[in-house]
Amino acid sequence: MAKGHASELETEPNDEGRRPPRAVVGSHRIEEEMFGRAFDKNIIRRIWAFARPYRAMVVISVAALLIFIGTQLLIPLIIRYAIDHAMTPAGVDRSALLTAAGAFALAILGNFGASYTQETVVGKMALNVLFDIRRAMFGHLQKVSLSFMDKTEVGRLMSRLQGDVNSIHEFLETSVYSVGDIALLFGIVFVMLWLDFRLGLMTLSVLPALLIIRIVWLPRAREAFMAARETNSVVNGALAEAIHGVRTVQSMDRQQVNFILYDDKAHADLRAHLIAARYAQVMVPIVDGLTGLAMAVVIVAGGSMVMNARIDVGVLVAYLFYIQRFFDPIRSLTLQYSVMQRAMASGRRLTDVLDVKIEVQDKPDARVLSPEMDGSVEFRDVTFGYNPNQPVLRNISFRVNPGETVALVGPTGSGKSSAMALVHRFYDVQRGQVLIGGHDVRDLTQESLGRQIAMVLQEPFLFTGTVFENIRYHKTEATRDKVIEAAKAVGAHHFIMSLPNGYEARLGERGGNLSLGQRQLISFARALVADAKILVLDEATANIDSYSEMLIQNALRKLLEGRTGLVIAHRLATIRGADRIIVLQNGQVIETGNHDKLMAMGGLYSKLYNLNYASFDDIAEEKLDTPALAGFRT
């Protein structure tokens, strides 16, 4: 797959050698189809489910729309009435003229009211549905399993939450107008035939011609439009790449080569747009020509009918009015076809997300975990794997007593992080039980469980906002003093005060203006404010510089005071400070005990320790492969 894709991106080598064979700028893969089937019953049903709460608004808007169309159809008829009845050859009929004037006034007021109502109601209804769908999706994503979230890029989800919901919005707006267009088209045809059947038929004979031309034109035009859209996203992609990678581009001196390649793409984009413009514009003379033809028919045929006194002049005038209007609905209806196709494709992607199963759910009779519980954590014969056939943890049992700090130690892939995730019930075990305070986590409400467990992750994640907001996070009831106290406890107060606005300093994107160590300290303070019985933490390692490390070690000690602690430990300092150490390997517990005991045992732990590194992460694989350890590796 990658091969074909790559070769297609490369430039032709025969280009005077200016375009190097391996040089590429930007890349573009059509990730998802832009158009689906124009009509998909299931998708429509799903979208309708979101519009249902607003069905009264839908009814009102369709009714208003019909009134609006009605008045539009009525106005030429009133003009016709005025011409034919108020000014009879016999003389002037004043009362008829007044009737016409009155009718006209009523019609335009009706038109005004109807268009006002309809546009307001439709506009707001479509917006409401858009925001409702987005909320439903966002809410759903808060509950789906973390493994789904890990698998799915944030960017992809964002394009669902933004692009796809927008095309549903567009669809809802236009579908009401489509109803109007169809009504208008039928209305015009009906009135024309009603005024004079023969003249009506003759005039309408140009319609099929337009319809056929548009059917031939549409697929070709759409292809051209899509090509233009694609070249556009290619150039924009290449530009974005140049911006993000500018430092590399400059340090590798690729500016000239890139510029030539970019020019190719920009030029292809220009060509594609010119072709698309040609397709878009070619319909103009066709529609105008056909309008002219229809008018000519009305004048010749209608004129002779007037002379033969078959119809009145007013009818002729009314016809000319209708002709000017009746191509509009056909034009917009064919455009709405593309909108529908786009909406169906988006709708399917949206329902895909909405249908992701929620795996971890509260039982109907789930209990609330009392804050008074003892804070113990126990694993009983736990077996777990993200894929049930490949268990990551096998038959694990251990207990962490209230107030105890236990360090989990082991090589990469030994299952440390998975064990941590189970404590918080991010996933459900396949076999065995995880007990918190003596209760199976599956019997508790997730909310109350979460309140008693604070987690600090390896990658500190901060939100846009002030330092204060980040430390307080969801504990909105926490006072300023409490936040400052927590920051002081973890040793973050000092650097926070040195920021331009102290606790009110706004953090950049993801806390970009802070160092990694500082961000980690803030996330420690956040965990402290959360004030949970149990603290679970994945100790950050490689990325923290030695300078922040001392601060973090002190913060940890503070954080663990009086709580049950489960730490994935990398640093020896942390490990030595733990009450107990559990050594994991290949999803199994192989050693347990405190530092001295494990050292005395002379197993994996003592070997690791004696290698004399500051962190277990620094130990090379080769060193683990020493004969002395061979016994442990299965």
Partner: protein, 620 residues
Amino acid sequence: MSSDAVGTTSLNSSAHVEAARLRRGLSTLLRITRMNLRHSRLVAFAFGSTIVAAILQMLIPQLLGRAVDQTQMAIRGGVTGIAAEHALWTPALLLLAVGALRGLFTMAQNYFAEAVGHHVAYELRLACYDKIQRLSFSFHDQVHSGDLITLGMLDLDGVRMYFSTALVRVLLLTMLIGIGAYTMISTDLVLGVVALSFVPFVAWRSSVTQLRLRTTWLDLQERLSVLSRVMEENLAGIRVVRAFSAQAYEMPKFDRASKNALDLAHGQVDVYVPNTSAMTLSFFFALGLVLWIGCNRLIAGEIRVGTLTTFLAFMTILQMPVRQVGLMVNAFARASTCGSRIFGLLDQDITIRDAPGARPLEISGGTLRFDNVSFAYSGTGNSAVLKNITFEARRGETIAIVGPPGSGKSTMAHLIPRFYDVTGGTITFDGQDIRGVTLATLRKAIVVVQQDAFLFSTTIENNIAYGDPWAKEQRIERASESAQLHNYILGLPAGYETVVGERGASLSGGQRQRLTIARTMMLRPSIVVFDDSTAAIDAATEQRIGAAIRRLAKDRVTIIIAHRLSSLMHADKILFFDNGEIVERGTHQELLAKRGRYKALYDLQLRPGDDIAIAYRGAP
């Protein structure tokens, strides 16, 4: 008295500011117009077809009127039969011809107008790309990448649409209203004035509304971007959200942002709907008046039915373009803001460029010298990031740089390939001041392996060959072997053809770093700087890479910036940076013997303990 004076000056100055902004806006529009006019042939076609199309369009009402009159006269005059019917053929055929021709010219008008816009967009696109690629790091440090991308997409579009939606429309509208007004008023003054009465009202309403919508639209974009930030942060930080069971906190946060945006969007509906309805109403009102007066005149025998038809048809034709006056005004405003942003970029000075008379770098001995170098980022109040840095590195030597974060290590690295220019002292390579040689040759000779590895969206192979796109396969493989990446790549389903980067397979931080190291090894630079580029790599791999780096170091200057001492103990010289200065220098052994900052760091990393921490912290 004095407060009055203050008031006047502030009033004056605000008027002054307003006037200056207007002038700037106008000069931007002028500049865009000039760019458009440069495509003289296309512009001439566009304008020419617009004029012809407008004239043809205004013929239609008259032809309609004539046809209606002819019919009526035939009846009045009692002329019926074949002759009369034949008389109808002339206006009918004329209508058909004029309709078709008008269509053709409108097509030409639209096409050429769009073509002009696309050609200008193409030129601007290239100019922006070129500029962005060449602007120095200090520019990119200050400008958010998202803003530049928006500039390349939305702002470019705003300028592109200027010709077709602003200039051509002005011409078309002037022609239509001019011809319409002339014909109608010369036919019947009162009726003409009444028929045109809706034009100023609609044009005014439409402009006011569009300008208002424009401000709320910008506001809405702002609120929507807050909403997307809330969503994106939540999704990217979903583990934190779950870890704190903070869904109950996040949903209201989302709802607040969402409601904020929705309210404004509803507000927009409330702005434009009454307005479009009012415009329609005013049109119909004028139409009704024309009918009323027209019918009375008809009765009085002052005009004919055909004249009335002509008037009604004129009004119908004028209705649409007049409603779009607002869009036109908006197009001018948009082009002016978008254009000023684009020109703002294009007019940026490239601060780092070849000096006049710059010569290619000549490499002889391969010695890099920092001589009393100091540096301060511009706009930071001149607090020096580097002070009095002096050192020398010869070919084959490895220099290691250590120091706390913010001590100026990376900054120093960026000075060598002239990503920034020194503010004091000189950097020379083989005796040539780096500011006196051409950038292209300098940057070929000096490569910095960056801290955050950027991968391009292409195959692994092309990424490795990024700096040498002519490279043969064997060389690429050799480079990846020495970066300890070859085996990993072979394990991938598509091997070297695996697409990576933003849209490709995701590599771990360590793998990305190794790929950038392989990329650097392809270039055979004379100086290579590893800017903390091994931080994300585990120690074992780093050791293996280290061996490769050492092999690489034989015939070049190698500078390693690292936190992990294990990766720099072997260096020929270690410089300890603090606060932009070199506070200790020497070999590993020498520095250990010194029992200073380096020794403290060494002890800390090898076996952390409280006593050392105290010693370390004791140092200022």
